[in-house]
Homo-oligomer: 437 residues x 3
């Protein structure tokens, strides 16, 4: 018995050593992982939130002086609307009980973190943090539309469209994939939303641009294109840098977890691939510009960066750094090629959102199987077409209905003096002389 | 004995399993919690720090061209002063030995992280990280003042006021509540500073505006108000977006902890409530604008966002998302109502800081008991009045003393040609033609 | 035997308690530390990445209207180039097998996180996160050059220089210290790169400015200096605030670890010291300006902030808050003194990068032994001279070669109408009237 008693402390010592090893092996406790994951959503979420400022500055810089204030207002308002609609309808429609189907449920969302409050961290993250992250994504889709239809759309009809887009359209196609719907069961892959966010925004913008028509005087009958230069290139540059910054959150946060060393490695990999794709987009756009035009157009280079970023968004984890640069670089080339093409088609996309977000969104989604063996070109194409068709047709119907009822375009004379004067009764730069165009 | 020996490994195995369970139950080690908490302060602190840029851009955009450079300088200088004064006087006055009383001690602050260095993490966070977070808060209060008194105040007297505000006034009222003083013992509640930061800035600004008088030509004898439009609406929009971003830090960091799953849930809840209040403020301001003026004033919408944010700041945790939207929405309405009211009273608040920060600060603090059952309307009112009276009277005395001694207002002709020329001898936009007003 | 069996649960209970204590003692598991460290690199890395936007805005604001678009383009392009070159050559040259020597190896970098993937977290952080952090640093060095040579350099030769600087020059001197080369073995100390990043950028800029010559009309034969005022002071201010924000990442991330409580304390200490140095730089620059010129020059104050930040970068951990303020303050004074001195020498540094980054970089590196007893003034001087000589001479040769071959300066008439028109064929502000100068 003495021996047994004596062996007590010795065993405890053994146990203590075992503890240390067990702790090291266990790695991250469920509660610590819960905090890490929640933190990832919040941190990358605020980066994506700041993209709203990026779009606002990009667009304010790209439109003419007489439309700047309206563009600012639209970007503030759409961010507010996106948050509210996603709360009232969107999130549940996208994530609640989709189960292989075509949409979720109609319900106001409310966070349920009762399990975590009771010490059960199996959910992995705070529900509110996930909602925050998803909400800033839907706002991004709306921001994309805003730039294309600038300078001639009326404010309230635009906002009405944003209500439908963020409350219904985006959540429905989102449910097909991220909500666990039919596309995800099919094996479609879109890591951070080249298609689900960027192309959706692009398709909605395209439908709007078609129904709205070009800005007055933009296209001559002889096929000529009247340049309507960006009013402030530093603001457009600032906006692009903010988007670039935000994209680390956009793609990095889409790993959805940072509660293990393996996830942390993946988030880091996504960061550098994302950056490399943007760099590739910039350099490719510059080179093509120089070769084709003998001069470099800053706005094309900025859109080259964005095009590179959109291109890597469908699969920012699997490619090597070199492949990421290539994928982004081709995105940059596509932008430089698509911009004049749209002008040929007399589709007036004021900020170049369709080339950067729609064209590169398609490209990025299509090329996923190149680096990710679990995917197939056929399935990727199916997803692109399904989401594209749905979004384009539904957007066309919504824009069309708005056009047929309340009207979507400002009057001719109002467009002439500028939407800022007409719609807001104010000027963006009242002390800087009259608008030149 | 053999049996006993044999039972050793078996027991160790049991113990190892117990270890794994214990680790899971323990959740977050004190050291991990210490890192999480410190990280929260640093991350949300840098977001709040960036609000200094937000105020600078908001104000640079809202003043006339001839005052932009001075406004920029004031915002850089006040941030520097706030940091230095809070180090020399403020922090100790606010937090050191208040103990139910009316102020702390007069002492230069220095960080004491010796316990953590010795492996004792009971403090919960690095002292330096807490100081960083509190320091960027005091700078916010000073930023609020800067906008109201723009375009006619002299630079050095303004900075002298900032010295007093950030070194003495803000820390004293801060000690009453966050320092553990009499108001906190009374049960007053102001989570992130609707009153302690925003109203304090607003009261100080109001006192300054009253003693300073309106800008030349702003108010006619017949009660007319001469519009003095904002020189750059995109900069004002950028500033607002930066503030919106920073507010996630402002409110989220005020949870003061992220070292447990429960705290992480709360920080996430605060993020989404904060966003919803801002969204409510935007939409409410837009609707009221449209109804009352038939046009939407972008600057009112921007202030609506800020008003919504200030309104939720006193209690960003307890309300539901819907209630947050409502609280922020009423804040947005208050802004639209208060701006013309101030003009009626001939109080010239150049950027609308008093409506957004003071009025909404009062509103947000008053409405806390609506969602937080541990508070009472009476106590909230007591806190609002006590802090308001102290700050207004003390600010009035400081501004008054400055006025009576070195003078606070630029000469008539200097105001005419602009404070940039008069005070700095430079122009903000030298190549963009003369100022229109 | 029954007794032994009975003692099992009792021992297990003991063990469980031991577990709890062991967990508390263990503190942070290797995997948790790995996540914390990786997170630190990513979070502080995105802050440093955003400094690219800060430089872009600072420079776009500081140049004349006719050069703004080119300045924006250069900053976007150099960030892309820095990332690509650091991937292709730079990182391996700086970090791979330096081993006390003068450079690493020539190899394309690729991340190796296989150990972490296999559950071994001894590396401490994700390789990709470290690369991200180092990559944004090299971009910073390139950004510094961009401002000095503005308004008269040709685009492609500038970008060619950036290729060499970020791919070869910066990595070589970087390898001497951070790569574990001869300087680090000597005991040189440069915590976050006063010399390795900022002075390197400054030396490269100085060599460029000397070979390029001043802007046309800048310096008269009679020693007069024609002012060429900054086109947009709010943009310059915004840029400075973004840099200030980014510097928390720059210095804080250079702790390279946040996986222990001790490291978290250090990161927090670095944050507040960094802020205090910037504040000291601002206030000192203001006071000297007021005393010497009787007026405050906003651009000098902005550079004072940057000078303060550069000054503390070599040792942001060891000094007290008061010492940090002093070190930064002297940096601010040096800026105000050095700017006119450069003009005397007819060295045309458009944005004041040489005073802020080179002069203060030297100052900050020299003063390290004042607060850090492990260093010596002699060794610091050795490092400053070695890196300075190498970078200046190598840069001079590269710039010289470019000048002798493809040429580095735009034609006279092109400079007259502006590099934007000449190089890009576009205007930054096409609707805001002609350039005044």
């Amino acid at each position: 018995m003495t021996g047994t008693l004596a062996s007590g402390p010795a065993l405890a010592q053994d146990a203590t050593q075992a503890v240390a090893e067990a702790v090291a092996a266990t790695g991250v406790s469920p509660e610590s992982a819960f905090i890490f994951n929640t933190l990832l959503f919040l941190m990358t979420g605020f980066l994506v939130m700041f993209m709203a400022a990026g779009f606002a500055m990009l667009e304010a810089g790209m439109v003419r002086k007489k439309s700047v204030a309206t563009q600012c207002l639209k970007n503030v308002a759409l961010f507010a609307i996106a948050g509210i609609l996603y709360y009232l309808i969107g999130y549940s429609l996208m994530y609640d009980g989709v189960d292989g189907g075509w949409m979720g449920t109609l319900a106001i969302w409310s966070p349920d973190d009762s399990a975590a409050a009771a010490g059960d961290f199996a959910a992995g993250y705070a529900a509110s943090s996930d909602w925050f992250f998803q909400m800033v994504f839907v706002a991004t889709a709306a921001s994309i539309v805003s730039g294309t239809v600038a300078e001639r759309i009326r404010l309230w009809p635009f906002l009405a469209f944003v209500v439908i887009l963020t409350g219904i359209l985006y959540p429905i196609t989102g449910s097909w994939q991220w909500g666990g719907g039919w596309l995800s069961e099919l094996g479609f892959s879109d890591f951070a939303g080249s298609t689900l966010v960027h192309s959706v925004g692009g398709w909605a913008a395209l439908a709007g641009a078609l129904l709205l028509g070009a800005r007055r005087g933009r296209y001559g009958r002889d096929g000529s294109v009247t340049p309507m230069p960006a009013s402030s290139l530093p603001l457009a540059t600032l906006g692009t840098f903010i988007l670039w910054l935000g994209w680390f959150g956009f793609n990095g946060g889409s790993q959805l977890a940072m509660g293990s060393g393996a996830d942390a490695v993946k988030v880091a990999t996504i960061f550098i691939n994302t950056n490399m794709a943007a760099a590739g987009g910039v350099i490719a756009a510059m080179i093509v510009c120089q070769l084709v035009y003998k001069k470099i157009d800053l706005t094309l280079v900025l859109n080259g960066a964005i095009g590179g970023l959109v291109s890597i968004t469908a699969e920012p984890l699997a490619p090597s750094l070199g492949a990421s640069m290539l994928i982004g670089g081709i995105g940059g080339v596509l932008v430089v090629v698509a911009v004049p093409l749209l002008d040929k088609l007399k589709i007036d996309d004021v900020v170049g959102a369709i080339p950067a977000h729609l064209v590169c969104g398609i490209w990025g989604t299509l090329i996923v199987p190149f680096s990710n063996a679990d995917t197939s070109y056929g399935t990727q194409l199916t997803g692109i077409l399904a989401i594209g068709l749905f979004t384009f047709i539904a957007s066309f119907i919504v824009w069309g209905t708005l056009k047929a009822t309340i009207g979507i375009r400002v009057h001719e004379e109002d467009e002439e003096r500028g939407v800022d004067q007409a719609e807001l009764g104010m000027e963006a730069y009242p002390e800087f002389g009259p608008s030149a165009v």
